[in-house]
Subunit: 465 residues, 2 copies
């Protein structure tokens, strides 16, 4: 009988806990609805993104446009009544494109001479003002260049033409599977005496829009120039090469200038109970030099800023410190994120969580979670407990990478989170001249703000042990 | 001991079942991957949709363009080597827009005369060739018209200006909450002697693009003309009305012509084991008269056609009959769906399942499931059991409506399923002159084919009891 009573008491206790938990879940669901209502009916991210793309298009790190972007976003943060807004100095590489680059198939038997739509790759050296002309050889991989060796490659232009795999439903996976050609293709071809490289643009679309992006050299190999051509032009060149040997003229005057000073832009609302536990929301302020940088990564910047504003507008008082960070240099150097982490470590700060939005302003699909190996399982479990609240909005929580700028914070053993919008359209715009406001849907962008703000609310309210 | 042995045997049995089930799930997962690979690397839906928008734009039921759409899609189905392809006659209403319609604010003190961007609503009568001019009164609802009564409304143009609610994350819910103004606004205003109505376009965007769509009259009320104006123009008119009374000139020569004969287009692969159990995949072939009808509902048509083709290409032999139905008249009459159901019932057919795609060619989010009340719970449970296979692709299965064209099949007590793509951009295009191919992303469209084909595979393989 005593035992039964004990079990009865236990059941009541459980029941009570379950009820309390349920009511807390209801409170959270209501608050998350409130956040969504605010973001969708009175968000500012779309307006800010329009402004940013207009006042600071082509804001590659080190450029005057990047300085304009620092000014504009600092100005916006200053209007929000945060606890503190400041700039953090970063010394960044400064690459310039120079003249409009040229890639021309010369005197093909089939087609005559054909100009290809092209963009020099970021960090690439130029060809010299006269340009260069050489026979083109098409390859599908870095390994294929190794197999061809000096005999097959010397004196030639190597044309990397392995497409992104259309079967991968997440386009970032397809990008990851192809981008070694862009990043390391010049170093590999240069090793065997190639005089330049052409790279098929990183997109699943067949279109006439070239995609730029970062490449790098290795210290042991003489640099050679690298230019991307559009996928339609890559298909054309490939079809010509199936029938004849072809020579290509390429010209670019791109080059590195001396390092420049620019800034990470930071604003924070100081936490009322645990101010030393920082929850960071960030994006990167720099873009490539050829467009507004709307999706990459203006969207992430305005997400980060509007998350703070939306939480303010719904009257939320954070217990922890909420910090918006706009990183100065992601595209060609990662100096913004590295500088931020260095300063943070020197100050002995602790980032309980860092969320990066750097996958565009599309409809939210969920979050990917990362952390230092020894703490990952536990932290992932805690975050996953909130899934029911997010699933109501069609969102998932998965293991996965977070963001290039917040990666250096991993050693602080907080949790790193990547915001994942739908990926299908991202590589239509990524690193192209068409990454402008007309490719952004206002509601999709605003839903991003709401989604990230909802997770920040949960992180702040419950913490992560 | 015997008991322990028994439990042991039971455990083995369970374990065996679980293993068998697991291996079947793995087989299904692999097959669904195969379907996705096929749709994403060798789909035809995008090419077919380009063709359909080019050869039969503005294919409102009864129009010559609708006949061209019947010809084109029948031609495509004929190339697929199906068991049977046929046309089903439908007698449809035939409404024509007539001259470019006009809505003009006349001699406003603030703005002078201003032409508004407008489209007559489908089924509306015209104003007569001279047009009409009257004072405008703005309302937010049908009820407000009732409150104003004859005294407030007689002789005036009633301007319905309640926006779609931006806080609703599913835009179809917001549409459902506003579209009564378009559908029933003229009948309500006409009841109290109004001479015409203007309706704010059905979209969350503030832009200059008018949205047409169906309206209807009631037999007891004298018809009055109805024209939609763009949201930007609705905001302008509203701002003028806050400061002064305003008069508007409206002119339209739209009218109903005699009914026409057109056709549902149908193709099927006959089932090898249960040919009398039909699984239907459909969309509607008609569109409004002002654009290509890419998202509404060319996308649904090419989804339906490519689902059959993709399943063929991966070598799937259906046990049940898979039928693609392109309905002739959804937009202004629903004759296509009603005719199809009537003939089907007369033949004593049974649709085990019917899936409609009529929410655009955007990234798939999931399915909504409906069925006759007495059988719903059981069927929903069976379909929900497949959720893990679909969740891997970020898809949900929820209770909800299916599609206007398949709705009349409900009495056959099969399961009715709506395909739900992401809804954020749909009402940027819906019923507008910009619903063309340039608003369609190839991968998003192809993922729709893959998603629907995956569910058809499961429905066919396992059936629904």
């Amino acid at each position: 009988m005593k035992k039964l009573l004990f079990i009865g008491a236990l059941a009541l206790l459980w029941g009570g806990n379950a009820l309390a938990q349920k009511s807390e879940t209801d409170t959270d669901a209501l608050f998350i609805k409130k956040i969504h209502d605010q973001a969708l009916s009175d968000g500012r991210c779309y307006e800010w993104l329009s402004d940013l793309c207009r006042v600071a298009p082509g804001r590659l790190a080190g450029s005057p446009a990047a300085a304009a972007a620092v000014d504009y976003t600092r100005f916006v943060l200053d209007t929000l009544g945060l606890s503190k807004v400041w700039l953090q100095e970063c010394k960044v590489p400064y690459w310039v494109r120079g003249d409009k680059e040229q890639v021309r198939i010369v005197n093909s038997k089939k087609m005559g001479s054909v100009d290809l739509r092209c963009l020099a790759l970021g960090n690439s050296i130029g060809t010299g003002p006269q340009g260069l002309t050489a026979e083109v050889i098409e390859v599908r991989s870095l390994n294929e260049v190794d197999s061809l060796g000096r005999k097959g490659v010397e004196g030639k232009i190597v044309f990397y033409n392995r497409p992104m795999d259309p079967r991968l439903t997440n386009t970032f996976a397809a990008y990851g599977g192809a981008v070694d050609q862009r990043g390391a293709g010049a170093a590999r071809a240069g090793k065997y005496g190639a005089v330049g490289i052409l790279v098929r643009s990183m997109t699943n679309r067949i279109d006439t829009i070239p995609h730029t992006g970062a490449m790098s050299y290795t210290p042991d190999v003489k640099p050679i120039p690298a230019i991307a051509i559009s996928t339609a032009d890559a298909e054309l060149l490939s079809s010509i090469l199936k029938e004849e040997t072809a020579r290509v003229y390429m010209r670019s005057t791109s080059r590195m200038l001396p390092e420049q000073i620019t800034h990470n832009v930071i604003g924070e609302i100081r936490g009322s109970e645990f101010p030393d536990e920082i929850i960071l929301v960030g994006g990167h302020l720099d873009s490539w030099d050829v467009a507004g940088g709307a999706h990459d990564d203006g969207a992430g910047c305005v997400h980060a800023m509007d998350v703070l504003r939306v939480l303010q507008r719904v009257g939320y008082q954070p217990k922890r410190t909420l910090r918006c960070v706009l990183f100065a240099n992601e595209e060609n150097g990662l100096v913004g994120g590295r500088t931020y982490a260095k300063v943070s470590n020197e100050k002995g700060e602790f980032h309980l969580a860092a969320i990066e939005s750097d996958r565009g302003g599309f409809t939210p699909r969920g979050f990917t979670v990362d952390a230092e190996e020894t703490v990952f399982a536990d932290k992932f479990k805690q975050i996953s407990a909130w899934l029911p609240l997010l699933e109501a909005y069609g969102l998932y929580i998965r293991k996965g990478g977070s963001g290039a700028d917040i990666g250096p914070l991993k050693s602080q053993k907080g949790v790193l989170i990547g915001f994942e919008p739908d990926s299908q359209r991202y590589f239509d715009f990524h690193h192209t001249p068409i990454d402008n406001m007309d490719g952004v849907n206002k509601r999709e962008l605003e839903l991003g703000t709401a989604t990230i703000a909802s997770l920040v609310y949960l992180l702040d309210k419950y913490g992560i042990k």
